[in-house]
């Protein structure tokens, strides 16, 4: 077992394999899959307090697959991944969340959504004022609050 990361090599392989089932690469949208090395590295280095539950979910996955997920044929791999998803629970939810939260902050993915890859601060965003004449019918209403 590797001593310098939160996951064993087998767990890392299974994480990569299930991430690819969740979010495969797409040429149509020009995005990598969630098994992309940069995204995987982000997941593993930022596991932090989620590490324990993620390991638990990967152990469940290993039990269901009875073999490294990546070694299964694609149909069986997908069936096992879906079985784990259907089981649900805190560990599986955490595993799914850590994949999603790293995938949807990857520069390439964020750009493909039409967003800028940057933190909100300090540039912020622009919010259009809107048409305040929409309020006219409401302004015309008599007071609605109950006097007491």
């Amino acid at each position: 077992m590797s001593t310098d990361g939160p996951l064993t090599p087998t767990q890392s392989d299974d994480l990569r394999a299930i991430a690819a089932v969740m979010i495969p690469a797409s040429t149509e949208f020009d995005v990598p899959g969630a098994d992309d090395p940069v995204i995987q590295a982000d997941i593993v280095t930022t596991l932090g307090r989620d590490a324990c539950l993620v390991r638990e979910a990967l152990d469940e996955l290993a039990c269901l697959a009875s073999a490294p997920l990546a070694a299964l044929d694609p149909a069986r791999r997908e069936a096992v991944a879906m079985e784990l998803r259907a089981k649900g629970g805190a560990a599986v939810e955490t595993l799914t969340r850590v994949v999603l939260q790293c995938y949807y902050r990857d520069d390439r993915v964020v750009r493909s959504l039409g967003l800028e890859p940057r933190p909100p601060y300090p540039r912020g965003h622009v919010l259009e004022d809107g048409d305040w004449s929409l309020l006219d019918p409401v302004r015309a209403r008599p007071p609605m609050w109950r006097r007491a």
Binding site: V21, M22, I23, P24, S26, E28, F29, V31, T46, G48, R49, D50, E78, A81, M82, R85, E93, T96, R97, L100, Q101, C102, Y103, Y104, R105, V110, L113, G114, L115, P117, R118, P119, P120, Y121, P122, R123, G124, H125, V126, L127, E128, D129, G130, D131, W132, L134, L135, P137, V138, R139, R141, P142, P143, M144, W145, R146, R147, A148
Partner: protein, 542 residues
């Protein structure tokens, strides 16, 4: 000045007024009392926040909402937090512990209670009337609006007249879609009052639409009390000691509060004597501290001869409903605060329940929040269909919550957990709470109306969270005010019926909850109580 006593603790020089908790109400009461020039000290278990480290400054801004900036103290688990056993509640407590208290992490929706909320028994025959009325609080609402800096628009027929000092937040795309839908139905809506600064205000920079207001505003546009009341209170001479967690309030032979035992920043036990003690620890922290202050003279906890300390906990269960529209919404590129509706606020018995709710409309969420929520709702397929589905959802969410009035029920309560303790070994609070029948009917009504609004906005894929699980953000009623010592914990100006130099100024005071976010009213009450104290200084303990 500190003196060591008994080799284990320290004794501090007595102060005139000791405030416990530096949140929404603690800050307001400290600032108001400062003009008396008394020696005022506030003890706060958390520290000062550093905006440079707030989530919106980093690329992991959304992920931190699930970790060190989770609104749940049990998940966040910072050293400043105390655990809460809320297993026996369908609504989990959320809060923030630090200078600013809950206002560091609130969403800044800032409505006031309505006049009818103070008279629910007289008007609707349920619960009890408050010992004070709306008009009594008006000058304090106004003072608080100036101090916190409220943005909004005068002229709303849904609420009594008020004049917010700053213009409202823009309607934006989401507000426009919602407004059109509400107009189609002929239902009331109005831009929400909020403490987000829309122009530069009293040294605060205006909002630049970071869109991540709840887990703290890095721009300083959202009014948390660490950047509003506290700087003014400190300039006026109030002392604030941070990282000081109070364990218990002690009493003297006359049954008056003598001072508090607390753990300082180094974990050392200290005693602080005080002539007056003001509790501002919120609707969970305050009953916890009173119950932890049981003694031979007060075996059921301090100030608890009524047995009501910790009882009548009210949360405002939220019924959240949202869907997805074809057009793009503002999503995370604006503050979540948008519009409110008072269409269903006042009692109409034909609806099948008494009292009512406010609709609080939102603008949408960021991509990670959308992905995680849609995964949980089963809207986001795994595999090839994922990308297409996500692009239909992300940036297209439109939604609202019905903030439902929760009636006081004695079995909904805060007690001390027999096992769970905080990092100082102090017994932690335990929550026992069930949804009331009236509330449940109100929530169903809110869900049905919300679906009509979303249909009018042509939204699809409707999702419901009712109640919002981590939606215990309004902590009310657990040490309520009243005239009758057998039916209330404090009197009409916040003084304990039992202990004449002990005051409560936080959300625990609420007799009923109304159907609005409470912080504006909590702070107005704190200013009102401070004003009452100032007027009665010569005979405060009579």
């Amino acid at each position: 000045m500190l003196r060591r006593v008994h080799g284990k603790g320290s004794m501090n020089d007595p102060v005139d007024v000791l405030i416990i908790g530096a949140g929404a109400s603690g800050a307001a009461v400290a600032w108001s009392l400062a003009e008396t020039k008394m020696h005022i000290l506030c003890l706060e278990q958390g520290g000062w926040m550093n905006p440079a480290t707030f989530p919106s400054t980093g690329r992991d801004w959304e992920a931190r909402f699930f970790g060190d900036y989770s609104p749940s103290p049990n998940i966040r688990a910072r050293p400043e937090d105390y655990p809460i056993n809320d297993d026996n509640s369908p609504i989990k407590v959320v809060n923030f512990n630090g200078v600013g208290g809950g206002t560091v992490m609130y969403t800044a929706h800032f409505p006031r209670l309505h006049p009818s909320d103070f008279r629910v028994n007289s008007l609707d025959g349920v619960a009890e009337d408050w010992p004070i009325d709306y008009d009594t609080l008006v000058p304090f609402f106004e003072e608080n609006d100036r101090m916190m800096g409220v943005s909004g628009l005068a002229g709303d027929p849904g609420v009594p007249p008020r004049n917010p000092p700053m213009p409202p937040l823009p309607l934006g795309r989401s507000g426009t879609m919602l407004a059109k839908a509400m107009n189609r139905l002929g239902w009331h809506w109005w831009p929400s009052d909020t403490t987000v600064a829309t122009v530069d205000y009293e040294g605060r920079a205006r909002c630049i639409n970071l869109g991540h207001c709840t887990p703290a505003c890095a721009q300083g546009a959202k009014a948390s009390t660490d950047i509003t009341y506290w700087p003014a209170a400190l300039r006026a001479g109030v002392e604030l000691r941070t990282h000081c967690r109070v364990r218990e309030i002690t009493t003297d032979e006359q049954g008056m509060a003598a001072g508090v035992v607390y753990y300082d920043a180094d974990g050392i036990e200290q005693f602080q004597a005080a002539h007056v003690i003001v509790l501002a620890c919120n609707g969970v922290g305050t009953p916890r501290l009173l119950l932890n202050s049981a003694s031979g003279r007060f075996p059921n906890g301090l100030a608890n001869s009524s047995g009501l300390v910790g009882r009548n906990l009210m949360f405002h269960p939220y019924a959240q409903v949202y869907g997805y529209v074809a057009e793009e919404t503002d999503s995370n590129r604006a503050p979540p605060i948008c519009l409110w509706s008072k269409e269903f606020y006042e009692t109409d018995l034909s609806r099948g329940f008494v009292r009512g709710y406010t609709f609080q409309f939102g603008r949408g969420v960021g991509p990670v929040a959308e992905a995680v929520a849609s995964e949980a709702k089963g809207l986001l397929p795994w595999g090839a269909g994922h990308h297409d589905a996500f692009r239909r959802l992300n940036g297209h969410r439109l939604g609202m919550s019905a903030i439902c009035e929760d009636l006081p029920e004695e079995h909904n309560r805060v007690t001390l957990d027999p096992v769970l303790k905080d990092s100082h070994g102090i017994p932690a609070p335990r929550i026992d709470y069930t949804l009331g029948e009236n509330t449940a009917r109100m929530m169903e009504h809110g869900i049905a109306r919300a679906k009509e609004i979303l249909a009018a906005a042509e939204a699809t894929d409707i999702c419901v969270n009712s109640p919002i699980l981590y939606g215990g953000w309004h902590l009310l009623g657990t040490a309520r005010m009243g005239e009758d010592p057998a039916r209330s914990v404090v009197n009409r100006w916040g003084r304990s019926h039992d202990v004449k130099n002990l005051f409560i100024v936080d959300g625990s005071l609420f007799v009923t909850s109304g159907g609005v976010n409470p912080t504006s009213t909590i702070q107005a009450l704190a200013l009102y109580i401070a004003d009452q104290m100032k007027q009665r200084l010569a005979n405060l303990f009579d």
